[in-house]
Symmetry: C2
DNA sequence: CGTCAAGTGTCAGTGGCTGACACTATCCTC
DNA sequence: GAGGATAGTGTCAGCCACTGACACTTGACG
C-alpha cells in the first residue's frame, strides 16, 4: 500500500495549499497520504486492529513522523469529521436572522448535507468519509471522543444562537438548552443511520429531517395521539 | 497510603456482600481499597497524573491484580457513577404510569438526587463522589467516556419509556427523541455545575430542575418573551 | 555556494494493558 | 486434620500509543 510521490502538478487542492514552496508541497502530500491510507485501513480492517506503525510503513515514513502530523491516532479519524462539522456551522451562520433558532438549526443541517460533497471531496472522497463515520459509530473508543467533540461543537453553536438572538449566554439558559435538545436528536439520527443499511448522504439527511419533526410532539406529555 | 486489612467484623457493607467466605471477604476489601485509594489520588493529584502502579502500590498489590478487579483505569472512576445512574433508572421505574414521559423523567431525576446519599455511601463517601464527578467533567478523556456511557444509559431509558407507553421503540421515534432532549439538558446542567463553585447535591438538583423548565420555551421559535 | 532552519529518522523510555505460568492461600471432602 | 481441587496473586515478557532528545538530511534564501 505504498503511496509514491506523484508529479508536482497533479495534486488536487487538498486542505489549505498556502504558499507553493516545495517543502510545503511535500508536507501536504505526506499528510494527505497518511490520512487516506489510515482511513482506508480503519474502514477495511478496523480501527483497533490497525497500528500506527502499519499506517506509517504504508506511507514510508517513521512512526515518529506520523505523530508530527497528527496529535494522536484518533486525530486522523476526525480530520474529515471536522470539515463536516464546520460546514454545518457555516451553514448556520448563513441562515437569515428572521428565522427562529430551531428553524435555523434545522435548515442549516439539511442544507449542509446538500452541499457536503463539494466541501469534503478535496479532503477525502465522500464515500470514504461515510465509511469512516460508520467506524466511529461502531468503535466505542471513537464514539466516546466523537461525543465529546459534539459537546464542544454544541457549546460553540449555543454561543452562535445566543449571538443571533442578542442574548447573554450565561444569563439565559435557552440557547444551550435548545441546542442540547437539537443535537441530542441529531445524535439519535446519526446512531440509527450508523446501524442501518443505507450509507448514503441522502439517507442521513432524511433520517435527520424526520426525527427533528418529532421533537415537538415528543415533549408533549400526552402521547395518546400517534406520532 | 497503605491500607491495612482490618479485623473481619468491622467491614461496612460495601458493594454486594454475597456469601461470607474468607476469600470473598478479602476480595471485597481489596476492591474497596483500590477504589477509594484511586479516587482519592485522582481527586487530589489528577487522573492523568496518577499511574496504575501508584494505586496498586498504595494498596500493596501488583499492577496485574489491579487489572483483575477493574477492566481498565477508567473503570474505577465510573464505579460510583454507575450506582448513581442506576439509582435514577430505579427512580424512573417507580414513577406512576399516569405520569407523562417527560414529567416522569423529570421527577425521577429530582427524587433520585434526594435519596442518593443512602444509596451511594456504602460504596463511597458522597463528597468523594462529588469530587470525582468534577474530575470527570474536567478531564477530556474521562468526559468522553462519560458521554458514551450516558448515550448507553439513554438507550436503556428510551426502552423503558417506550415500554411505559406501550410503544414499539423501533416504530415510534418519540421515546428516543424525548429521552435525547431530556438527557441533553441534564448534560448541560451537569457541565455547568462542574464548572460552578458549589459542589453540593442540592446545587445540581436545583440547576437540573431550572434547566428542565426551560426546555419547552427554548423549543418555541419565538424567543421575544424573556425566559 | 554556503548557511540556516525545517523536517525526518533513530533511539530510548513511560504508561496502559494482556497472556502465560508458577506459586500461594482458601475451600471442601474424606 | 491431611490433601487435592480451585481461586487469587505475583512475576515476567511483550504489544501498542505516545514523547523527548539528538543527529542527520534537505529545501530556502541571500
Amino acid at each position: 500500500m505504498t503511496v509514491e510521490q506523484q508529479p508536482i502538478a497533479s495534486t488536487g487542492a487538498s486542505t489549505g495549499a498556502s504558499t507553493g514552496g516545495l517543502r510545503e508541497l511535500k508536507k501536504q502530500r505526506t499528510r494527505d497520504a497518511l490520512l487516506r491510507v489510515a482511513l482506508e485501513l480503519f474502514t477495511t480492517k478496523g480501527y483497533e486492529q490497525t497500528t500506527v506503525d502499519e499506517i506509517a510503513d504504508a506511507v514510508d515514513v517513521s512512526q515518529r513522523t506520523f505523530f508530527r502530523y497528527f496529535a494522536n491516532k484518533e486525530a486522523v479519524v476526525f480530520a474529515a469529521q471536522d470539515t463536516v462539522e464546520w460546514h454545518f456551522v457555516d451553514a448556520l451562520r448563513e441562515r437569515p436572522p428572521a428565522e427562529g433558532p430551531f428553524t435555523a438549526m434545522r435548515r442549516a443541517a439539511l442544507s449542509a448535507w446538500d452541499s457536503i460533497e463539494e466541501r469534503l471531496s478535496p479532503v477525502v472522497p465522500v464515500t470514504l468519509y461515510m465509511r469512516t463515520y460508520q467506524v466511529i459509530e461502531s468503535t466505542p473508543a471513537l464514539l466516546a471522543i466523537h461525543l465529546r467533540r459534539s459537546a464542544e461543537l454544541e457549546e460553540h453553536v449555543a454561543r452562535l444562537i445566543a449571538e443571533r438572538e442578542g442574548l447573554d449566554i450565561d444569563a439565559d439558559p435557552r440557547p444551550r438548552v435548545a441546542v442540547a435538545a437539537f443535537t441530542g436528536v441529531m445524535r439519535v439520527a446519526g446512531g440509527l443511520w450508523g446501524q442501518g443499511g443505507d450509507p448514503s448522504v441522502a439517507a442521513i439527511r432524511e433520517l435527520t429531517a424526520g426525527y427533528l419533526d418529532h421533537l415537538g410532539p415528543a415533549l408533549a406529555d400526552d402521547w395518546r395521539e400517534p406520532a
